[in-house]
C-alpha cells in the first residue's frame, strides 16, 4: 500500500529526530582550568565560529548545559567540584575531555593532579594536544554529533548501558594511603581497589 506524501514531509524515526535536534544544539559547559581554556575561547570566538555547528552558546550554569568540555588539568581539590557539576547537568549530557592533561594528566604526574578525568567521570570524546587547536576541538564536536546521531535514543537508553572506561591495571595497583584512626580522608570512601 503506497501512501502519497507531499514533498515537504519527511518520514523518520522519533529517536533519530530527537538525536538530530540534540546534536545540532549542544550547549557547552566550559570547565576551563588551564591553557586549553584559551583554545576553547578561541573556538567559540569569531575566527573559528563554533556557531556553524550549533554549539556556540556557552553557559556557566551546569543546569543549562548538556556538553561538558573539561579543558585543562584537574587537581584533586577540584575533582569533587567537577563531579558535582557533572551531576548537576541534566540528561542527555555528554563530556569532552580536551587536551592531554584532562585526558591523562599530561606532564603533571604529581601527587595533586588527577591522572585523567575518565577515571572518575564518563567521557565521550578525547581531544589530544597540548593544547589542541580549535580545529581539533571542532572535529571532536563533529564526531560527538555523529555519535549522538548514531546512538541516541529519545529516552536516553544509551546512557544506562555505557559505563566508565576501566583504568589500566597498573594504576589499580598503586598503593592507597592508610589513614590514622579517626581521620576520614574522603568521606565517600576508597573505591580504586574495588
Amino acid at each position: 500500500m503506497a501512501v502519497e506524501l507531499p514533498e515537504n514531509v519527511v518520514v523518520s524515526k522519533l529517536d533519530e529526530l530527537a538525536s538530530w535536534c540534540r546534536k545540532n544544539s549542544l550547549w557547552p559547559m566550559p570547565f576551563a582550568t588551564a591553557c586549553c581554556g584559551i583554545e576553547l575561547m578561541a573556538t567559540g570566538a569569531s575566527r573559528h565560529d563554533l556557531a556553524r555547528f550549533g554549539a556556540e552558546v556557552f553557559r556557566f550554569s551546569p543546569r543549562q548545559c548538556d556538553l561538558m568540555i573539561v579543558a585543562g588539568r584537574v587537581v584533586m581539590k577540584m575533582l569533587p567540584v567537577l563531579q558535582r557539576i557533572w551531576q548537576q547537568m541534566h540528561e542527555p549530557k555528554w563530556c569532552i575531555s580536551m587536551g592531554a592533561c584532562a585526558s591523562t594528566g599530561g606532564v603533571f604526574d604529581t601527587y595533586s593532579v588527577v591522572q585523567g578525568i575518565d577515571r572518575f567521570l564518563p567521557v565521550d570524546m578525547y581531544v589530544p594536544g597540548c593544547p589542541p587547536r580549535p580545529e581539533q576541538l571542532i572535529q571532536a564536536i563533529i564526531d560527538l554529533q555523529d555519535k549522538i546521531q548514531r546512538e541516541g535514543t529519545i529516552g536516553g537508553r544509551e546512557f544506562a548501558t555505557r559505563s566508565r572506561q576501566q583504568a589500566p591495571h597498573a594504576l589499580l595497583e598503586l598503593p592507597v594511603i592508610t589513614l590514622p584512626r579517626g581521620v576520614s580522608h574522603f568521606p565517600q570512601g576508597v573505591r580504586v581497589n574495588d
Binding site: 601527587y111 595533586s112 572518575f120 564518563p122 546512557f159 559505563s163 594511603i177 574522603f186
Partner: protein, 165 residues
C-alpha cells in the same frame, strides 16, 4: 644592599648570629629561639616594614647539610630599599616556631602555606589551616621524603558511572 648599621644592630643584640652574602644579598642565620626577637628588631628599629615572603627548604639528603629544614624570611625596607633574608634551621620532631603574624599581618597566608607543604607549626597563628591542599590531606608534600606521585590521594574519589550521573 644592606646598611652596615643593620648588621651591627643585629650582631650586637644576637652575638651568635651567622652572616653570609651572595651576589649582594645579605643573609642572616639565627637560632629558632631568637627568631621572633630578631624579626621584631628588624621591623621596629631598622624599618623593615615589608614581609616579602616566608618559605622553607628541606635539606634532606643535601650535601653537607646538618639540619633538616631551613625556614626563610625575606624582608624589605621600602624607604631605604634594604633587603635581608633571615633564616632559622629546624629539626624534627621539634618543628615549631613563633608566628610572625603579630609583626606583619601578611604572614598569615604565608605561614599557612609553609604549614601546608612542610608541616612546620607556627605557634600563635590565628588560623593555622591548610591553604592550598584539601583539608582532608594528611601529608606534607613538599618534604623531600614524600613521593612525587603521592601515596594514592589522587585516586581516592568516588567513580561516577554514566547511569548514575
Amino acid at each position: 644592599m644592606i646598611d652596615p648599621q643593620t648588621t651591627a644592630a643585629l650582631t650586637a643584640a644576637f652575638p651568635a648570629i651567622g652572616w653570609s652574602e651572595f651576589r649582594g644579598d645579605t643573609r642572616a642565620v639565627v637560632s629558632r629561639d631568637e627568631l621572633f626577637a630578631a624579626l621584631q628588631l628588624l621591623r621596629d628599629q631598622r624599618g623593615f616594614d615589608l614581609l616579602v615572603d616566608i618559605t622553607c627548604v628541606d635539606y634532606l639528603n643535601y650535601r653537607d647539610a646538618e639540619d633538616r629544614f631551613g625556614l626563610v624570611y625575606l624582608l624589605a625596607n621600602t624607604r631605604t630599599n634594604e633587603r635581608i633574608a633571615v633564616r632559622a634551621f629546624l629539626n624534627e620532631p621539634d618543628l615549631v616556631v613563633p608566628s610572625a603574624v603579630p609583626l606583619w599581618a601578611g604572614a598569615n597566608w604565608l605561614e599557612r602555606e609553609v604549614w601546608d607543604m612542610f608541616g612546620i607549626r607556627f605557634e600563635g597563628h590565628p588560623d593555622l589551616r591548610r591553604i592550598l591542599l584539601p583539608d582532608e590531606f594528611v601529608a606534607f608534600p613538599l618534604r623531600k621524603d614524600y613521593p612525587l606521585q603521592g601515596r594514592g590521594e589522587r585516586h581516592n574519589f568516588p567513580v561516577l558511572q554514566r547511569d548514575e550521573g
